[in-house]
């Protein structure tokens, strides 16, 4: 079971999670990023003023 890195709430993750996938913590609403799938690692997604690249 993974925890939200911000509020420690348990996260329910599916079997089909992908590296780079973004999800929201149901408890605190923080946007989270799956940074690794094996082992599963979850970090707060970087805040960005713009959601595009170049």
């Amino acid at each position: 079971m993974s925890q939200c890195p911000v509020c420690d709430a348990d996260l329910t993750l599916g079997d089909d999670i992908l590296k780079g996938e973004l999800l929201e913590c149901d408890d605190c609403g923080t946007e989270l990023e799956i940074t690794s799938v094996d082992p599963v690692k979850v970090d707060a997604a970087p805040a960005a003023e713009e959601d595009w690249g170049q």
């Binding site: 780079g20 996938e21 997604a45 713009e50 595009w52 690249g53």
Partner: protein
């Protein structure tokens, strides 16, 4: 001080542009693109250009390692050195540079492109970013010594990595760093057009206030172009000239009132 931004289209009259620049008596530098050449090189190398549309609707080229290799070949290699060659043939002592060299353009890597993919919200990280500072001391040393910098991407990120960046944003930082009073942008159109399909819809003059309004009215890549123009105009630049780079004398046409003059 003049900054000349040469777009990356394939129809620009590069020999004519450089010939005109050789007649100027004021210091200048060149910033150039090479997007058409980049696409051609990438195709020859078997790399497919990947364009992503972010969740908010802005399009971006996904700059992975292959894309960056194509940028290094097309922008920093072929186009940059051919422009330097043209300069030398016209007695302009040019120095070809990228933002990496001497950290002339130091940027900040983007935090990723947010996209929807197969119903999932994904963060796609690539080698792209925005310019933050310019090495004005190095550029001024070159310009004061009689050299003409010919600058292109990539730029340098916080960790010394080469990253893709928008030339419009780079020009904005250069204008501030060098206190350039004039910026000429050469494109494959007569200037700012009300309707790109109507050759008679050229706007010969625009003021800075209108740029902000226009940014809200356009979409996609043009929205980002207008945003960059507005940021440039908000600095201390005296005039921005957007002019056709395909004519016989693109620079002289621009300085003699051609294209679209954007002034306060």
């Amino acid at each position: 001080m003049l900054i000349v931004k040469i777009g990356g289209g394939e129809k620009l009259n590069l020999p004519g542009i450089i010939r005109d620049l050789a007649t100027l008596n004021e210091p200048f530098m060149i910033v150039h693109g090479a997007n058409a050449l980049r696409d051609e090189v990438a195709k020859k190398m078997g790399f497919e250009k990947s364009v992503l549309t972010s969740i908010s609707g802005y399009t971006s080229v996904f700059s992975d390692e292959n894309a960056l290799d194509a940028i290094l070949m097309a922008y920093s290699g072929l186009r940059n050195k051919r422009l330097v060659e043209l300069c030398q043939q016209n007695d302009i002592n040019a120095v070809g540079l990228t933002g990496l060299d001497g950290r002339i353009v130091q940027g900040k890597r983007n935090k990723g492109i947010r996209v929807m993919e197969n119903g999932k919200k994904m963060l796609k990280r690539d080698f792209s970013g925005k310019p933050a500072t310019v090495n004005s001391a190095l550029l001024t040393t070159l310009i004061d010594s009689g050299y003409v910098p010919v600058l292109t991407i990539p730029i340098c990120d916080e960790n010394g990595n080469a990253i893709n960046s928008e030339n419009d944003d780079i020009v904005c930082k250069l204008q501030q760093g060098l206190d350039a009073d004039t910026v000429i942008q050469l494109i494959e159109a007569p200037g700012f057009m009300e309707d790109i399909n109507d050759p008679d819809s050229l706007r010969p003059r625009l003021d800075y206030a209108e740029l902000e309004v226009r940014e809200q009215q356009v979409e996609g890549r043009m929205k980002r172009k207008m945003h960059a123009l507005y940021k440039l105009a908000k600095g201390n630049v005296k005039k921005i000239i957007i002019c056709d780079g395909r004519g016989e004398n693109p620079i002289l046409d621009a300085l003699n009132g051609g294209g679209t003059w954007i002034q306060p």
